[in-house]
């Protein structure tokens, strides 16, 4: 496989007395969807914030296209080409789709907003993602949850990112809308972007992810190729089913008749 575009190794992060991440590794290749899995408190969000530059890591190395980089501010991550879409989407309900897509990066000509150019670019972008929305001039409040998610993702693509991080993109969506978003994730992958997908939904992970990286209590608890790993094994890694008194004891001693216990 090609060289990883983003590679984290030995990432540790401490909040006071809590070791949120210890020696975590993660790599993403271009054109690959990596699912980041883990129970609540496993450190997924902390890792996302490390990558996005919101909470820099205490120790560890981040390599971008093979070269070591420092990501200390959200701006650093954006400059490298890492786009993060948080769960709350951060859309302005009162503005239309075009305005939301270009928010903070409006195109202007002669000091005035170049609505024509922005609408044309927006149409092109959405067409390239095969996203069909009737009118780009409706306020985003009128869109469905899935369409809003898609607009949020599309907005992050205007900066030409190479890695897109999605925080639970399907958490609040219905069946059809989830399918729309998953389609979009596949299209991003086909365009050669690295995608990091944080999700609790194993069905989504199985549908689009190439690899599943599992975190448990701030440590790496497995890195699976989704295709050839049974569902149970991934769940076991997430819940730590392999790490409980029964199996620990089973590993230590062989008790005759333990099936009856």
């Amino acid at each position: 496989m090609s060289e990883p575009i983003l590679e984290l190794s030995g990432i540790s992060k401490r909040f006071g007395a809590v070791q949120a991440l210890s020696e975590v590794d993660l790599r993403v290749h271009p054109g690959e969807v990596v699912a980041l899995l883990g129970d609540n408190g496993a450190g997924k969000s902390t890792l996302v914030k490390v990558i996005a530059g919101v909470n820099p890591a205490d120790t560890g190395e981040i390599r971008w296209e093979g070269k070591p980089v420092t990501v200390n501010r959200p701006g650093d991550a954006q400059q490298l080409g890492i786009a993060t879409i948080y769960q709350d989407l951060a859309l302005c309900d009162n503005l239309d789709i075009v305005a939301n897509l270009f928010l903070g990066a409006e195109r202007t000509s002669a000091g005035l907003l170049d609505e024509l150019e922005m609408e044309r670019r927006a149409q092109e972008l959405l067409d390239s993602l095969s996203v069909r929305i009737p009118s780009l001039r409706v306020p985003v409040a009128s869109l469905s949850g899935g369409q809003r998610q898609i607009i949020a993702i599309a907005r992050s693509l205007l900066g030409d990112p190479k890695v897109v991080m999605l925080d639970e993109p399907t958490a609040a969506l219905g069946v059809a809308q989830t399918a729309q978003v998953l389609d979009l994730i596949e299209r991003l992958r086909d365009q050669g972007l690295g995608v990091i997908l944080i999700s609790h939904n194993m069905a989504d992970v199985r549908a689009v992810a190439d690899r599943a990286v599992v975190l448990r209590l701030g440590r790496n608890a497995g890195d699976f190729r989704v295709e050839d790993t049974p569902y149970e094994e991934i769940v076991a890694a997430i819940t730590g089913a392999a790490d409980n008194p029964v199996s620990r004891r089973a590993g230590r001693v062989t008790v005759p008749g333990s099936e009856e216990a």
Binding site: D88, L89, A90, L91, C92, D93, N94, L95, A99, L103, G104, A105, E106, T108, G111, L112, L113, L116, E119, R120, Q123, D127, S130, R132, I133, P134, S135, R137, V138, P139, V140, A141, S142, L143
Partner: protein
């Protein structure tokens, strides 16, 4: 796969079948307009209906109401609070409120009078300094609100009381400073333009509107984007031309177009263009819609907030100067009383939402006209303030109810 590609491309360029397309005919325009009204996009329609009802009622009670003299006075009468409304609109768009505009207009008037009359400074310099004092006050309000995090309501409530105190202090023991009748300050509201200038401005404004809209839509069509038909552009131009030319005819029957009203209109037009056509305006709407989203999009939310409060107080100061010009004096009651409520009410009656993120600068003109017409009509009927207050309150309440209902209707029709 290779065979499917051209088909898919063709689909992309085509219009989405779910999009309702109004026929480019008169009936299509009407049905489209009706659909938008039912969806809660009332726009200026309720205000215009209200204005027509007010005019009909007062005209039937007193035939002088629609006389050119009274209407000319009306345009002058709404200028001062209208300018304050314009600033209030900016603050309302952020989803905040500025309770200090009345007091700030009073302080600016006092600064103007003290400098120009008591200190004998050049009147133009005094006007400039009075406007700047408003800007400074606004920066102060905005900074305390945005940087310290005190709710705007409280900051400007403190301003409401505090700046009135400063005004009383500046005016000193006399409490009134008269402005000379023949200076620059007085001429602001005493100047009228000869008829041909009015016609020139009206033809120019309508012409520029038609040309810019027509060319804009042509460019949209050329770029393959949905565009308004020539018919719709023409209808809109005619709808704009009727009130514009009507106003010029009526005002020319009396003394001509008042300079002060033109100043007000100028501010309204400039603010409207600023809100709709510039990055700054887009940022104001974004902060009003979702401040956190705006922050993450890289917008300096604090700076936008401070600048909006600065603009609001600046406009309040301009309003105070025009009030001083019209009254030939600055008194202890300048900017006090119902001025603040009228300024906020005009903005809301004109259609700017109290909930933030929705509105337009034209609310100041429309709302100002409604309140001005009521005031003027009741004066003609020799009713006193008690009736005026009650009627103004009812009109304000109707406007707020319409705002809340249309917001709900927009939600139900999923239009934000």
């Amino acid at each position: 796969m290779a065979q499917q590609t051209p088909v898919a491309k063709q689909e992309v360029g085509a219009r989405d079948p779910r999009l309702i397309v109004d026929a480019a005919s008169p009936s299509g325009l009407v049905s489209g307009a009706l659909r938008r009204l039912r969806g809660g996009e009332l726009g200026p329609v309720p205000v215009i209906i209200g204005l027509v009802i007010i005019c009909v009622v007062f005209q039937s009670l007193n035939s002088n109401f629609l006389s050119p003299q009274n209407l000319s006075n009306l345009t002058l009468q709404i200028v001062s609070t209208g300018l304050m409304s314009c600033g209030v609109i900016m603050v309302l768009l952020l989803g905040e409120i500025d309770l200090s505009v009345g007091s700030v207009s009073g302080v600016a008037g006092a600064v103007l009078a003290v400098l120009a009359v008591n200190q004998g400074i050049n009147e133009i310099a005094a006007i400039t300094l009075a406007v700047l004092s408003g800007t400074l006050i606004g920066v102060l309000h905005g900074t305390v609100f945005a940087k310290v995090g005190v709710p705007a309501f409280v900051v400007t409530l403190a301003g409401l009381i505090g700046w009135q105190g400063v005004q009383l202090y500046l005016l000193g023991s006399d409490g009134t400073i008269n402005v000379p009748y023949d200076g620059v300050i007085a001429s602001l509201t005493q100047t009228y333009f000869v008829p041909w200038i009015g016609w020139l401005l009206a033809v120019g404004a309508v012409g520029v509107y038609f040309a810019s809209t027509f060319l804009g839509e042509r460019r949209r069509a050329a770029a393959g984007l949905p565009a308004k038909s020539v018919l719709e552009v023409a209808v809109r131009t005619v709808l704009l031309a009727i009130p514009v030319f009507g106003a010029v005819i009526v005002l020319n029957l009396w003394k001509g177009i008042p300079l002060a009203f033109l100043i007000f209109l100028g501010f309204v037009v400039v603010f409207d263009l600023m809100l709709r056509k510039t990055r700054y305006g887009r940022m104001v709407f974004a902060v009003g819609g979702n401040a956190e989203a705006a922050r993450r999009a890289g917008i300096n939310v604090d700076l936008i907030r401070i600048s909006v409060f600065a603009l609001a107080s600046t406009l309040a100061a301009v309003g105070g100067i025009l009030a001083a010009s019209r009254g030939f004096a600055v008194t202890q009651s300048s900017g006090a009383g119902d001025v603040l409520m009228l300024a906020i009410a005009a903005a809301v009656i004109g259609g700017t939402s109290l909930f933030g993120g929705r509105g337009s600068a034209y609310s100041a003109l429309l709302g100002g006209l409604v309140l001005g017409a009521i005031t003027s009509g009741l004066y003609l009927l020799q009713m006193d303030s008690s009736v005026r207050y009650m009627i103004t309150a009812v009109v304000l309440l109707i406007a707020v109810v319409l705002d809340a209902v249309s917001r709900r209707s927009r939600k139900a029709h999923a239009r934000g």
